[in-house]
Symmetry: none
Subunit: 249 residues, 2 copies
């Protein structure tokens, strides 16, 4: 059998106790490797022949495995070229920076007025977003965000207690605090919506009731892909706007 310089199939192994079809096992192994980040987006998988030879299966088997990955949207085929890792997470990439960092870069002085820093039990929404059980305690951080003494946003952050042991110690930048524990989010999904400010929020932001505000929900993931942060931001729209640079690829 032909040997290759490196583990071509990138650590794909078969489980002898698994009696599901070979191609299904192979598909699962490759999918795991992709999700574990062993391949970059747009990188080619080993060719079907290479895969089949290095794993000692027929090419059709390897091919069927890849078929499954294509169905799952993990891989795209290109005849004559290869099978490529499909763009993940809709490939929407953008620089992730915290409120503090963003404002500092623009020359403002960011401050916080703390409303709450406590360890509590999570709501069901928070359990779902963070992937934790009902009994896993979380740190809940509520504060007003100010730029040069002007209230810009009301923000609620919820993080597993394992990530923020002593919430009261968080002072300025949450990300700065997290960075020390290697739990800083490297990826986040943000949902951006508009919202008519209800009475309590309006009072806190110092705006009229019903005024449109940006409502941003962010789930941040650490380097291991674990959700470590759920933040709801209610941003005054007249002082702050959200800028995104986008690219086509």
């Amino acid at each position: 059998m032909k040997k290759y310089a490196t583990p071509t199939a990138k650590d794909i192994k078969f489980d002898v106790r698994d009696n599901s079809p070979l191609y299904a096992q192979l598909a699962r192994k490759i999918a795991d490797a992709i999700r574990a980040g062993h391949y970059q987006v747009d990188e080619a998988l080993p060719s079907e022949r290479l895969l089949s030879e290095s794993l000692n299966v027929s090419r059709v088997t390897a091919r069927k495995a890849i078929d499954r990955l294509v169905e799952q949207g993990l891989v795209v085929r290109r005849q004559g070229s290869g099978n490529y890792i499909a763009p993940r997470f809709e490939q929407a990439l953008s620089r992730l920076s915290s409120f503090s960092e963003e404002l500092s870069r623009r020359g403002y002085t960011p401050t916080s007025r703390w409303l709450k820093r406590a360890v509590v039990l999570p709501t069901t929404d928070e359990q779902a977003s963070l992937g934790i059980s009902a009994s896993t305690k979380v740190a809940r951080l509520e504060r007003l965000r100010l730029a040069d003494e002007v209230v810009m946003a009301y923000e609620v952050s919820v993080l597993p207690q394992s990530v923020v042991r002593r919430p009261a110690e968080v002072e300025g930048s949450l990300y700065e605090y997290l960075g020390r524990g290697q739990q800083i989010p490297v990826r986040a999904l943000q949902h951006i919506r508009a919202l008519n400010a209800p009475a309590r929020l309006a009072a806190q932001l110092g705006i009229d009731v019903g005024q449109a505000v940006l409502f941003i929900t962010r789930v941040g993931f650490n380097a291991q892909g674990k959700a470590v942060e759920l933040t709801h931001s209610y941003c005054r729209n007249d002082y702050y706007d959200f800028v995104a640079e986008m690219r086509r690829d």
Copy 2:
């Protein structure tokens, strides 16, 4: 025809574990170098011949790699002069997709109800955003955007007439139309704000006056870095939300 005599470039791999074509690997390598700040904006890359000789690949391969960088908007070509790092490059990356593309990907059927497709003179704002003179005519496209027959957004796009000669011919996806003329935006700056819907907009979107809507202003740039699109979108917030994935780098 000469046989691949010398150590064929096929054996040269920048990353032995990467099965991607050579030019793709090279493109990624150069892109990484650019992002790492090894080149200044406006600085020339090594010439194609120099690149190919120093890396022992054919000029076509080096050229294809650069092609990819140009498509990504990282590099601009100047015949007779060289390939230069594109201006205004920032590391904030996010996938740029049009309304149509976004909805299609989510399984909706996007349609448009056209309100206006005309060639007119630009407003001063539009002149500034697109970098054109007061006498340069523009195509103004106004439409309601629908997903599965439900009004999702009201959108106004303004483009230089040189880019859209016959506005009335634009039917579905604007980007699809632009793609044929090689003027498709590869980069865009979006400002996202919240807005209380004024009467006219509310009527068009079928919502109450004062209801919060997402107001998105987008300036799109083509591969040469020229502004080719200015689009204002007023999005119903209850049906559509804007999702952005962000990364730290």
